[in-house]
Structure formats: C-alpha cells, structure tokens
Subunit: 248 residues, 2 copies
C-alpha cells in the first residue's frame, strides 16, 4: 500500500428512504450493517439521513450528501409499487431523464416467465440516463449507480447482496482500526484519566460508551486510529488507567 493511499480518507453518506422507518413500523437494519461494512473496507460513514417517500425530500438529501462525501448510498424505494419513487427522485436530483433501461428490461425478461413481465414489474427497469446497473443476485431487479450515488433496495438481504456487488468498484482509504477496553466501572470514574490520555495522544480518537445491564453501569472504551502503533500505545494507556481505577 503506498503512502498516498494510506493517508487518503474516503467518506460516505447514507440516505435511508421510507415512511415505514419513520413511522416505526419497520425497524431499520441497514444503517448498522452498512456502517460496519464500510468501516471494515476503509470508508468512513460520516452521516446518515432517514427521509420519507417524498420526492423533494429525497432530492434534497441526496444532493446535500453527494456534494459533501466521496460516496453516497441509498436504500429503499426501488420496487414495483406506486410508493417506490427513488429512481425518479434520483433522476431529478441529477437533472437527467429516466426511462425503461434496455439492460434492466433484458434482466427482468430473462427472469420472469413469458407474459408475466407486467407493467408494474417493468417499473423496476426505470433507470436514470447515464447510470450503471448494480447487480441484484437475490431477486434480479437491479440497483444503479449515477455519479457518486449508489441506489440499493431496502430489503436487507437484497441491500447486502448489492453492497457486495458494489464493493469491488469503490476506492477505499486508510482503514480505521480500533481496540476496545472493557471497564467494570461507570464512565464517570474513568473520565478524567480518559481526557488526559486523549490530550496526550493526538491521532487517536477515544470514545467512552456507558452500558446499563440490570441497573448496573459499566463502560466500554473504544480507541480508534488509522495508525496501528499509535493505537496500541493509546489503548495500553487506557488499560492501565482502567486497572488503576478498578483497584482504587
């Protein structure tokens, strides 16, 4: 890996599209999955927005994140029903026409038995002009990429398959490594020490995450850095501080 490559930071934004997430009827599982996936391959997820099935709101979120981050991913709203308006919204966000895409039509034709490619199903072949298709190994109807925006399905198994198809095309940066230290203490007992360790170790990020199990508080301290030597030194300082506080 070249020095340039190590020092580059690649960022991403994620737009989750769907009334059902905002009403609470469906509990999102894609944010956590995408976050972990991108972190593992060296892309920093920097912002997530959840927006309803409303064209202007999708357009606004996609434009805002597209101009700010290396990549944007979206999930939801690319099925065959009237409430699936993501493809049209993305076309509008990029100011390009949208129509049935011959490559997508061919994929659906090959999948559905003769005579069953209904008008509703054909809707799934509507792709903004200039987009590349993203393979859907689960249920065939493709996602697409246009500019730096990757449009994926909302059903988790399909979103995950599309992400596997996209991953080899993504530029990745220096991976953020992390080490966790568990402390059987409420975080307020270790807070002063953590602040000092953070100040003494620029180039690492120290996060403190309280947990409550049956009313008993413990803390996980997570140390993150793109430099594994720095990371190990800071984590060791945290381990010592936790040991000292636990013994006190």
């Amino acid at each position: 890996m070249s020095a340039d490559r190590v020092s580059e930071i690649v960022t991403a934004g994620f737009v989750v599209i769907g009334d059902e997430i905002l009403s609470g009827r469906t509990k999102d599982r894609n944010i956590g999955y995408l976050a972990e996936y991108l972190t593992a391959i060296g892309i920093e997820l920097s912002e997530v927005r959840v927006v309803p099935d409303v064209e202007e709101r999708i357009v606004e979120a996609v434009r805002a994140l597209s101009s700010r981050y290396t990549y944007v991913f979206t999930s939801g709203g690319i099925g065959p029903t009237h409430d699936d308006i993501t493809a049209d919204s993305i076309a509008r966000a990029f100011g390009v026409p949208i129509d049935h895409d011959p490559r997508a039509v061919a994929i659906l034709k090959a999948f559905y038995p003769e005579g069953q490619l209904t008008e509703a199903r054909l809707r799934m072949a509507r792709i903004p002009q200039g987009a590349e298709l993203i393979e859907n190994s689960v249920s065939k109807a493709p996602g697409f990429r246009i500019g730096n925006v990757h449009v994926m399905a909302g059903v988790p198994s399909i979103m995950q398959a599309m992400l596997d198809a996209i991953a080899p095309t993504l530029r990745t940066g220096a991976r953020m490594h992390s080490l966790a230290v568990d402390a059987d203490l409420p975080e307020s007992r270790i807070a002063d020490a953590l602040r000092r360790i953070q100040e003494a170790h620029p180039g690492v990020l120290i996060g403190s995450y309280p947990r409550s199990v049956d009313g008993r508080f413990s803390t996980q301290i997570v140390v993150r850095s793109r430099d594994t030597d720095l990371l190990e030194r800071a984590a060791e300082a945290v381990r010592q501080a936790v040991g000292a506080a636990t013994a006190a």
Copy 2:
C-alpha cells in the same frame, strides 16, 4: 378532541449523535423506539440525521431540523467524558452561554456520596442558559430542553425514561392510524391494484413492503390515515384486491 386539534399536524426531527453508530460498533436502537413512540402519541417523525461527535456537525443538524419541525429530539453525548460535547454544541446552536446549572448540580449532589462529585461528573451539570431540565429517573444526570430541542441520553434505557418525562409536555396532533394487510404474494403481483386504490383514496397513504424469508417473497401492505373511516374503506379495497390476486 376539537376539530382544530384533529386537523393539526405536529412534526419532529431526530438527531442521533455518536461516532459509535457511524462506525457500526454500536447498533442504534433509539430511532425505531422514538419513531414508534411519537407515532403512537400523534407526532409525525419526519426526518432523522445521524452525525458524528463533531461540534459543527451537531450544530448544523440541530439548527436545520429545529427550524423545520415542531420538535427536535437528540440522543447521545451528554455523559461525563471528553467525547460528550452535545450540551456545548447545543448552546452554540442557540448562541447562549453554558455553565454548571445550580438545579442540575443539586440533583447530582443529592445522588453521589460525599466527596464523589468529581469534576468529570460535574460536567453532566453543564446546561445551556435558559434551558429546562429533563428528569432522568435511571441515573439522575438530567437532559434538557431549549427552544423546541429536547436533549436526551444515548443509552436506550435512559433515553426511554427521559422520553416518558418529556411526553406530557408535548403538543400532539391528529394521530396517524394504520391497518396492515398481509399478502402471500410478491409485491409486483399486487402493484397495479395498489396504484389504482391509492389514486381512488386521497387522504390515505398506502405503503407496500416486500419481505423475504428463506428466499420466498411476501408483502405487507400498510394503509395509513388520520381519518379512521377513510382508512377502513381503503383497507377493505386492499383486502379485496389481495384476495383476488391470491385466487388468480
């Protein structure tokens, strides 16, 4: 309930604050909980943003949602450690000073044994000027409300307790009611009928949610409306369409 009250729509935005959600290390459980809670009491969650522990990003998200929705809720970043920067960020978003709040100090003094109210723990009493405290029945350190923004903890059990404390103070609007119809069909089989039913029933929102279990696709159709008569009529049309498509 007066007619005015029924017709009013009360909206909310939610800002989830925390590097740990964006790195995927912690899987958010607060979005789904808040969404369901607000829907149940007649507040429409209209947008969610997940942002990192970076002051300018918190300020930007809170300002954007505060000007757009009736209420804003935040979760995360109000603990005792150096990475807890939400209170200071909110003060900056509102352009007010922040300092140790005598009411919050009193709560912490009453909770911690003599001599154990450390500087780190006192940080949890830093509250923007002009804010009201939000009770924390779990671990005492309070949240706060300033303007239309409600600042809550990120630990789910504490966030939930704070929400219970806030709820009686919120203005609520006409509740969005919903009915679900399960179809043992892929959604493309019912899409044309749903579009016609949607067009024939303004005042209801019809959502179609595909599911995949062991490779088999089914669909849940969710009909939503603030008017229960309209809701029932549209749901009945959906039930008949699903019945016809299943028999076909």
